[in-house]
C-alpha cells in the first residue's frame, strides 16, 4: 500500500499565493524593520516559514530542517540543542526563530547580547499546537495576515481530517514501528507524536501502557495484535521489506501480517506536527481505510 500526497501540493500552492498577495499589501513602515536575514532553528519552524512564503528570507537553518528540500541548500548552524553562538552570528542574521528548547542556553544568551532578536516558538504535538505555532512564527516574521490565512487553511485541513476520521466506524489498531534494529521492535507509545497522528487519522494506538518510543517485548507485540503497521519511509540500507517485517515472530501471526497491511510515510511529514500535518492525517486515514 502506498499513500498519496497530491492534495497537500495543491494546498501549498494556495497558501503561497495567499502569502504573496498578503505581502503586497503590507504597510511600508512595517516592511522597513522587517527581518530579512532569518535563521530558522527547528524543522517544523522552518516548514511554517516556508509555508508562509518567506523561504527566500531564510539565510541559515538547523540540522533538523529538511522540508521543503530547497532549504537543505542553506548553511547548517548545527543541531537545535547544540548551536554554536559564533556560527549563528557569522551568517549575519537579523532574526533567529527557534523552537522552544533550542540551545544551549548560554548560546541563546550570547545571541541576545549581540543584539540579534531571538524568538522562541512553543512546541505542542496537537492541532491547537500547530495553529499556535503558525501564529507565533507569522507574527515574528511580520506576516500576521498570511499567518491567519495559513492557520485558517490548516485549521480547515484539521476539520476535514477530523470529519474523515469521524466516518471511521471501527477504528483500526495501529502499531507505529520506529525501528527494528537487531529484531527489537521500537514502538511509539502514549504521548508520542506518532500516537497523535494516529488519533488524527482515526486509528487507535496498539502500543499502550508506556510513554515515549520504547522497545517492546515480543509478547507485548503479540498481545497488541495490530491490524496495520506504520513505519517511516526509509531508503537504502534502512529499508525493510514487508517479508522481513512479517517474518518477525511477534508479528507473523498478527492481523497486519495476515493482510500484509503496512504503511510507509515520510518521517517528518508524519511526526513533524507542522502545516502539513492535516494532509498527513488524511493521507494516513486514506491509506488505512482504503480511500484516496
Amino acid at each position: 500500500m502506498m499513500c498519496r500526497l497530491k492534495p497537500s501540493v495543491g494546498g501549498l500552492h494556495l497558501v503561497l499565493t495567499l502569502a504573496l498577495a498578503g505581502a503586497l499589501f503590507l504597510a511600508p513602515a512595517e516592511a522597513q524593520n522587517r527581518a530579512e536575514r532569518i535563521v530558522s532553528v527547528g524543522g517544523s519552524v522552518s516548514e511554517v516559514i516556508a509555508a508562509l512564503g518567506a523561504a527566500d528570507r531564510l539565510i541559515a537553518r538547523d540540522s533538523t530542517t529538511n522540508y521543503p528540500a530547497s532549504l537543505l541548500a542553506l548553511p547548517d548552524v548545527g543541531y537545535v540543542r547544540a548551536l554554536s553562538p559564533e556560527g549563528v552570528l557569522s551568517v549575519g542574521p537579523d532574526l533567529v526563530i527557534a523552537e522552544a528548547g533550542a540551545g544551549p542556553a548560554e548560546a541563546v544568551a550570547v545571541l541576545q547580547a549581540a543584539g540579534v532578536p531571538y524568538v522562541a516558538i512553543p512546541e505542542d504535538p496537537s492541532a491547537q499546537g500547530v495553529l499556535a505555532k503558525i501564529a507565533a512564527v507569522a507574527s515574528a516574521i511580520g506576516l500576521p495576515e498570511e499567518g491567519k490565512a495559513l492557520a485558517a487553511s490548516v485549521q480547515d485541513g484539521f476539520a476535514r481530517a477530523a470529519a474523515q476520521a469521524a466516518t471511521v466506524t471501527s477504528p483500526k489498531k495501529v502499531l507505529f514501528v520506529l525501528s527494528m534494529q537487531g529484531g527489537r521492535i521500537m514502538a511509539g507509545g502514549q504521548g508520542t507524536s506518532a500516537e497523535g497522528i494516529l488519533h488524527l487519522a482515526g486509528a487507535t494506538n496498539a502500543a499502550t501502557g508506556f510513554e515515549g518510543y520504547k522497545q517492546m517485548t515480543d509478547e507485548a507485540v503479540l498481545a497488541a495484535a495490530p491490524d496495520v503497521i506504520v513505519m517511516m519511509d526509509r531508503e537504502g540500507d534502512h529499508a525493510m521489506s514487508d517479508a522481513d517485517l512479517f517474518a518477525h515472530p511477534a508479528l507473523a501471526s498478527s492481523p497486519a501480517a495476515v493482510n500484509g497491511a503496512v504503511i510507509r510515510m515520510d518521517g517528518m511529514l508524519l511526526l513533524g506536527f507542522g502545516p502539513r500535518t492535516p494532509d498527513a492525517a488524511m493521507a494516513l486515514n486514506a491509506a488505512l481505510y482504503g480511500r484516496g
Binding site: A60, S63, P75, D76, V77, G78, Y79, R81, A82, L83, S84, P85, E86, G87, V88, L89, S90, V91, G101, P104, A105, E106, A107, A109, V110, A113, A114, G115, G212, Y213, K214
Partner: protein, 355 residues
C-alpha cells in the same frame, strides 16, 4: 637530546630539559591563545578591532560580543579545562603508579556522567523552585555532585584504619563504573528522543556553552586543584617507588593520597560538569611529556597543565571551524586526533611502553 651549555646538569638529569620545555610550552600557549581569539566563524578580526579602537572608532555590538562574550570565555574555559584534565590524568597515573590510569578510574567520570544523565532526563521533574535556583547550571551541578559523591564513596570503601588501598579503589571504581553505566542505561530507557540527543551531545563534550558565568562556577574548583598539584609532585615521585618506600623516604603517604584524590575529584568533576565528556587529554598529554622530559612530577605537572591547555584550545579551534557555521563536539576532535597520535606513539616506542 639537546645539550644546554648553561645547564650544569649531570647525565641523566632531565630537569634542565623539562624547564626549557616549560618555557616553550608557555610561549606556544600564548600563540595558541592568540590564534583562538583571532579565529572564528564570524570573521571578526582582532587587529582590525584594535585598529578601530586605536583610531577612536566605536566597536560594533556584534564584534564586542563575539570577542568578549564568545571567544574569550571559550579560550579561558579551554585553558582551564585542558589544564585540569591533563593534570588530573598525571596525578591519577602517579597515584595508581600506572601510565594508563585515568580520572575515569576513580569513579569521577562515571559519577559525573550519572549526575548529568539524571539532570538531563529527570530535571523536568524537579520542583519549580529548585529548578529556578539551579537554572541552566542544573546539569553542571548534578555532574559535579555525582563525581564528588562517587569519589567520596570509593574513598570510604577503600580506606580501612586510615590506610587507603589503591588496588581496592581501582576495583571499586570499576564496580561503580558498571553500576553507573547500568543506572545510566535505565535513565536512557526513560529518556525521550530529545533527551537522548542531549545525552549523546553531552557525552561528546563541548565548549559551545562557554560563558563567564560557567567559568565562574568551574574556576573556584579547578584553580585550587591546579594550585595544589605542585605540592603533590614530590609525593607522587616517591610513590613511583611504591607506597612502603615512599613512606620510608619520609613522605606522608596517606595525606598525599587523600589530597590527590580530592584534587582530581574537584578538577575533573568541575571540567566534566561544564564541558561534558572530553577524552584522551588526560592520557595522551602526560604520556607525551614523560617521553619528552621524563616522569619527574615537579615538571610533569606544570608542563601537563600547559600542554593540556594548548591541545584543548587547538581542538576547540578545529571544532568550531571545520563545519562552520555549525560546530563539532570537541570530544570528537580530541578523540579523532588523539587516538591515532597515541597509537603512533605506541608503535614507535613499543619497547618503552612497560616503563
Amino acid at each position: 637530546m639537546v645539550a644546554l651549555p648553561f645547564a650544569r646538569s649531570m647525565p641523566g638529569d632531565r630537569s634542565a630539559r623539562a624547564a626549557m620545555l616549560f618555557w616553550v610550552l608557555l610561549a606556544a600557549l600564548g600563540l595558541t591563545a592568540l590564534l583562538s581569539v583571532g579565529t572564528g566563524a564570524s570573521g571578526v578580526s582582532v587587529p582590525q578591532v584594535l585598529g578601530d579602537l586605536w583610531a577612536g572608532q566605536p566597536i560594533s555590538t556584534r564584534d564586542r560580543v563575539v570577542l568578549l562574550d564568545i571567544r574569550l570565555p571559550r579560550l579561558a574555559m579551554g585553558v582551564l579545562i585542558g589544564a585540569a584534565l591533563a593534570v588530573s590524568g598525571a596525578v591519577m597515573q602517579g597515584l595508581f603508579r600506572n601510565p594508563l590510569a585515568d580520572p575515569g578510574i576513580v569513579g569521577v567520570g562515571a559519577g559525573a556522567g550519572l549526575g548529568a544523565v539524571f539532570a538531563i532526563v529527570l530535571g523536568g521533574l524537579l520542583p519549580a523552585s529548585v529548578a529556578a535556583v539551579a537554572g541552566n547550571h542544573l546539569v553542571s551541578l548534578a555532574a559535579f555532585l555525582g563525581g564528588w559523591a562517587s569519589t567520596l564513596l570509593l574513598y570510604r570503601v577503600a580506606t580501612r584504619r586510615g590506610q587507603t588501598s589503591v588496588a581496592t579503589m581501582l576495583l571499586a571504581g570499576i564496580a561503580l563504573g558498571a553500576l553507573a553505566g547500568a543506572v545510566t542505561g535505565i535513565l536512557v530507557y526513560l529518556a525521550d528522543d530529545r533527551q537522548l540527543r542531549d545525552l549523546t551531545f553531552w557525552g561528546m563534550g563541548s565548549l559551545a556553552g562557554a560563558s563567564w558565568a560557567k567559568l565562574l562556577t568551574a574556576a573556584p574548583l579547578i584553580l585550587p586543584a591546579l594550585a595544589l598539584a605542585p605540592l603533590l609532585a614530590r609525593g607522587l615521585n616517591g610513590l613511583a617507588l611504591g607506597e612502603a618506600a615512599a613512606g620510608h623516604i619520609g613522605l606522608p603517604v596517606q595525606r598525599i593520597k587523600l589530597l590527590a584524590i580530592l584534587a582530581v575529584a574537584a578538577a575533573t568533576g568541575a571540567s566534566v560538569a561544564v564541558a561534558g565528556g572530553i577524552g584522551f587529554i588526560g592520557i595522551v598529554v602526560p604520556h607525551l611529556l614523560r617521553l619528552a622530559s621524563g616522569p619527574d612530577h615537579r615538571w610533569l605537572l606544570p608542563n601537563a597543565a600547559l600542554l593540556g591547555a594548548i591541545l584543548l584550545v587547538l581542538a576547540d579551534i578545529i571544532a568550531r571551524l571545520v563545519v562552520a557555521p555549525a560546530e563539532l563536539p570537541i570530544g570528537i576532535v580530541t578523540a579523532t586526533l588523539g587516538a591515532p597520535v597515541f597509537l603512533w606513539i605506541l608503535l614507535r616506542r613499543r619497547g618503552m611502553m612497560d616503563l
